[in-house]
Amino acid sequence: MYSDKVMDHFTNPRNVGEIADADGVGEVGNSRCGDIMKIWIKVENDVITDIKFKTFGCGAAIATSSVITELAIGKTLTEAEEITNQAVASALEGLPPLKMHCSNLAADALKSAIEDYRKNTATTAS
């Protein structure tokens, strides 16, 4: 069902955990639909220097969370924001059709974390 790449990220997820002093935190999904992703980021000079995730969800949800942390790290916020759910699926060598919609939310979680960071810094700046 899943590609080797998905299974690799599922069995050895990268960057699992939380960042205690994160600059931004994003969360998407809800327990009703069965997938919750939470992403923590550290940002320095507009670049994502650290990123961690925790996910409640199926194999696809865990793998997409894991792979987006690899895709995002080292990128500027603008670059990171441009990562699409589709790009995440491609990085995993594809997802089963049924999983494309319900479990492919990692890009949204990252965007939400970046938004949170911007909100935090805007508040600080004001």
Binding site: Y2, I36, K54, T55, C58, C102
Partner: protein, 385 residues
């Protein structure tokens, strides 16, 4: 690493004796059972003998009360639509329960667009239907009540005989989906007080794509599949003779071995339940008394079912979950939700259903592996603190 199959409620392997019994009907005895010549008569004999075996094993009165179908879903559809269309003049009210298989629920729901009215009875936290609730739901225009014998997810066995008595006294017809029990419980249609009963061969070591519907003598039934004169004009189509012979053989073996095997599985089941309960934040689902001897169903809070199954698969264990992610829908098991579980908890369910090949060593291996996996997934879960 060996493979451990613990998903016998999903399907089972065709056992050797069954495969042997089927073989000649593919090749040498391949005739069409409707034909007059020798080859056709051989097929007819195979069919007749299978029907005889099955009607007797179900405690039915006559062979003609058995209609062969392509499985449990068709049998359920035939029972419900067949009775609905045949008795629409008499009334249009149907009663069922919230934990039925989709082949019952969706079928009954489909009929509502034709003016049929549906009462879906709730269940209690153990998944039990209350026979008093059935009694109160019966109306003068109730033509059919359909309550499953035992649930495929949680293994809860319903008080069918009691419900049947109430329904039949009222003058309505009573159907039970016995797909999960045909291989493991005594199925006497008179003791169960049922008018219609569905079975499916692949749940008791027979082939996939074959089932049967018991229809008590005198009950009218509109066909689901119209056409040729097979099955006394109640189900058209050239009969799957090999499959039917396989089903009869499988049912006979299962019923013969039923008591001994049930006792063996009950022991394994209870050891498994006890062992899994030790894991913190674990909930056992279903009724612990009125329960199929092979069913274990638990929820591990804070984790999701499919990721659990994938990890089990990596350890060589085949199991199942009521998680939405395994079914491709958004909502998790309608059965667990009907019992009052929250979405979050229902997503973390694990069903282990034991069978012929499982040993105590399998149970021990499971009890070794599951706690580690649960712990690992919880460490990854944003819900777990």
């Amino acid at each position: 690493m060996g493979q451990i199959y613990m998903d016998h409620a999903a399907t089972t392997a065709v056992r050797r004796e069954v495969a042997e019994a089927m073989k000649p009907f593919f090749t040498s005895k391949f005739g069409n059972s409707s034909s007059v010549y020798d080859l056709g008569r051989e097929a007819r004999r195979g069919l007749d003998q299978a029907r005889d075996k099955i009607f007797k094993l179900l405690g039915a009165e006559r062979a003609e009360e058995i209609i062969f179908t392509s499985g449990g879903s068709e049998a359920n559809n035939l029972a419900i639509k067949g009775v609905a269309w045949a008795y629409a003049n008499k009334g249009k009210h149907i009663i069922t329960s919230s934990i039925e298989h989709p082949a019952v629920l969706d079928t009954a729901n489909w009929l509502t667009q034709f003016g049929f009215e549906l009462t879906v009875l709730p269940v209690d936290e153990y998944g039990l239907v209350d026979s008093q609730k059935v009694a109160s739901a019966l109306r003068p225009d109730t033509i059919l009540v359909s309550i499953m014998h035992a649930n495929n997810e949680i293994g809860t066995i319903q008080p069918i005989s009691e419900i049947g008595k109430i329904v039949r006294q009222h003058g309505a017809l009573f159907h039970t989906d016995a797909v999960q029990t045909a291989g493991s419980l005594d199925l006497d249609v008179d003791e169960l007080n049922v008018d219609l009963l569905s079975i499916s061969a692949h749940k008791f070591y027979g082939p996939k794509g074959v089932g049967a519907l018991y229809v008590r003598r005198g009950v009218r039934l509109e066909p689901l599949i119209h056409g040729g004169a097979q099955e006394k004009r109640r189900r058209a189509g050239t009969e799957n003779v090999a499959g039917i012979v396989g089903m009869a053989t499988a049912l006979e073996l299962a019923q013969t071995e039923r008591k001994v095997e049930s006792a063996r599985l009950t022991k394994l089941r209870d050891k498994l339940i006890k062992g899994l309960q030790i894991i913190p934040d674990t909930k056992v689902n279903g009724d612990l008394e009125n329960r199929l001897s092979n069913n274990v169903n638990v929820c591990f809070k804070y984790i999701e079912g499919e990721s659990l199954l994938l990890n089990l698969d990596l350890k060589g264990i085949a199991a199942s979950s009521g998680s939405a992610c395994t079914s491709g829908s958004l909502d998790p098991s309608h059965v667990l939700l009907a019992m009052g579980l929250s979405h979050e908890i229902a997503h973390g369910s694990l069903r282990l259903t034991l069978g012929r090949e499982n040993t105590e060593a399998d149970v021990d291996y499971l009890l070794e592996v599951v706690p580690e996996i649960v712990e690992r997934l919880r460490a990854m879960s944003p819900l777990y603190q």
